[in-house]
Symmetry: C2
Subunit: 458 residues, 2 copies
Amino acid sequence: MKKYLFLNVALLLGGFMQAQLANDTIALRKIYDYCLTESKCYKNLEYLATKIGGRISGSQQAEKAVEWAKKAMLEAGADTVFLQACMVPHWERGKKEVCKITDLTTQLNKFLNVCALGSSVGTPPKGLTAQVIEIKNFDELEKLGTAAIKNKIVFYNVFLDPKKINTGEAYGESVRYRWAGASRASKYGAVACVVRSMSTARNDFPHTGNMGYDTSISKVKIPALALSYNAADVLSENLKKNPNLKMTLATNCRNLPEKRSYNVVGQINGSQNPKAFIIAGGHLDSWDNGQGAHDDGAGVVQSIELLSVFKTLGIKPKHSLRAVAFMNEENGLAGGKAYAAVAIANKEKHIAALETDAGGFTPRGFNVDTLNGLFKKVKSWKPLFEPYFVDKIDPEGGGADISPLEKQGVPCIGFEPDSQRYFDYHHTADDTFDKINKRELELGAAAIAALLYLIDKN
Amino acid sequence: MKKYLFLNVALLLGGFMQAQLANDTIALRKIYDYCLTESKCYKNLEYLATKIGGRISGSQQAEKAVEWAKKAMLEAGADTVFLQACMVPHWERGKKEVCKITDLTTQLNKFLNVCALGSSVGTPPKGLTAQVIEIKNFDELEKLGTAAIKNKIVFYNVFLDPKKINTGEAYGESVRYRWAGASRASKYGAVACVVRSMSTARNDFPHTGNMGYDTSISKVKIPALALSYNAADVLSENLKKNPNLKMTLATNCRNLPEKRSYNVVGQINGSQNPKAFIIAGGHLDSWDNGQGAHDDGAGVVQSIELLSVFKTLGIKPKHSLRAVAFMNEENGLAGGKAYAAVAIANKEKHIAALETDAGGFTPRGFNVDTLNGLFKKVKSWKPLFEPYFVDKIDPEGGGADISPLEKQGVPCIGFEPDSQRYFDYHHTADDTFDKINKRELELGAAAIAALLYLIDKN
């Protein structure tokens, strides 16, 4: 009797699970169909990237982006849209930077493509001129010390490792030269530093990105700039021929007082558990030199699309869903910190937080925190994602904006599109809307909405 | 005793298999490292696409491409390079095509972006003018019949299905309108046909591609052209407003006598079984309107790279390896047929044949024939490919050029890169070298070389 009972329960359970799988399969197909035929995310990104453009924290464009995001979320069908205030750094690039290498003895006189790194101080108004010392890594810097470095411009000629299949991994290895290079060079008396752009793309676009001064290493803040890949090649070749060449750098960037800015949050209220939240977010700010199309306009419009998907398809989530357009990911994370602080203050329970900040490329998968069994759950849905070629589900995920939530114990997810082209455009004037492929962007929006649908249901 | 013996054998076998796996892991890493740091495939493609350019069968550019491929294969380290003759169609586009829609009553007078389909006859020298009838599918055509179609231009307004995740599947569904549309419209007295371009990309590039006349359906050969996606929209909108509008078409294309051309085959001789062959190929010809960068310059240079990988890394294959640059894939398959005929004549045993003709995009996997257990074998190597994100290994593969070999029982493989962007560029003036991403192209070359390495060894 017991045996039969067990069998019946097993059959019932089996039948239930199969029906569940069939329902989920149908729901995912609807989400994808919607995103591939009716989605507004491409049009939204066109507006954000081409009409508003580069939108660094503190800029007028960032203000416009906040207004736009609010409107876009309401149009997407949010039950409510609200702003979360935060104080953001206000760094301005000023006039276009100049970099020139000269050597009177060999008649060398060349301009190199360069840009100031975010947060860097500027040079004196007329620029600065000094000899250049090329170094390969921090160990070499330490060995050379003051004798070799004092009064020079340190050139960190560090290549992104092209052998890494995931380009983000290579970026992770090299980015410390951009971030920490200035203070470490200043410690030995350098007057400025230039870094090879964090990219494997051999072109003339310098890649900006944030740097920081560590006053425990050096009290003297020196200007920090990035050379384009080609410019770094030219400099290195010329240094071999003319080790005494001089470099003149002129930048006009400056750090102004902090400004008030905002995260924009669009919410669909949960039908069963409205005080528990599942969120997807990207960052609304971008660097000033391009249009912030892949970084991270794509993530913002994909997050907003989540609202459209649920509203248009009439899916009523159990938990409250949020699309979050975070402010100030690029140079401070004020938005991410503010979101997490509000979550604590309001005792908001977060079931999961997803970040999409790796470009609008073809989706490959998700990196998912193992916390609360989330990774295991998402992994079990792999068969549902396989028809959409989104099947790389790996443990440990997240993103910069949601990292303060992660510290509170919220299981986090990083959306992982194909990484091959991301660092070609990242932080450059070339990160423009024409680099976005409509289908790839839409497939990303669909993958994110599908995953949040499953998390909400289960 | 027996038990221990069994245990020992199992341990030995386990150890052997682990050592094997470790060796293969190291070999694949070497292949990838080489392709991502030293490969010439990007430079090779730059030359083929930008210095030779579009290279339709029978053209001077196709002749130049044959010479170039021979040289490139020798430089890549082939033990021997030889040509295989074949007779190819010689179709010429002639002067740029014109398409105009007019309606005197509504003052309509618009030029539309259009191009002749490959193999199409031209219009009379001064063009032809007729009313247009828009149809959605062949069923509708059949229902309308002669009464509605006679003396008109048939407009096949058939969309590629954006909901298909694999764009090749959507293409496969719609391409019959391009291929067979002319004869089927001619049967009912149409004077010409125009098709919506086989693409989901909303832009102004018309997509050419081959068409055929089926004289068993209609003896009258009518001109066939493709409208760009936007032009098809414009035409359809205007037909709603002016159902009597007239279209003028003028093309100068013509079919000339066949010409002699060649496949180019580069070989590394097998060290143990030189009479058995494993091949990788792409097609050397391309449409005339672009540079044939993704279609299929990418496949050609990836195949040639196979030779470099083995030679430079000093890997001596057991079987003979061949890179094949097939001629005339686009409008006849003369090269593919010639290769298969030579294989029969020379009693060449082919272990496996791989085709790369889906663009130089990020690799996703391989489609592999189940013949001779090849699929099962390749599937068992999935763990080796996972670190390279090449893990979609599905049954039933191949490609147009190797399809005649497949008919002889050779197990075939289709290399499957990401398909999202392929039909944006396919057969257009926009299929140019600047659309190639160096890393994505190299990752494809590496994946192909790695797979052939494993097939050769096992």
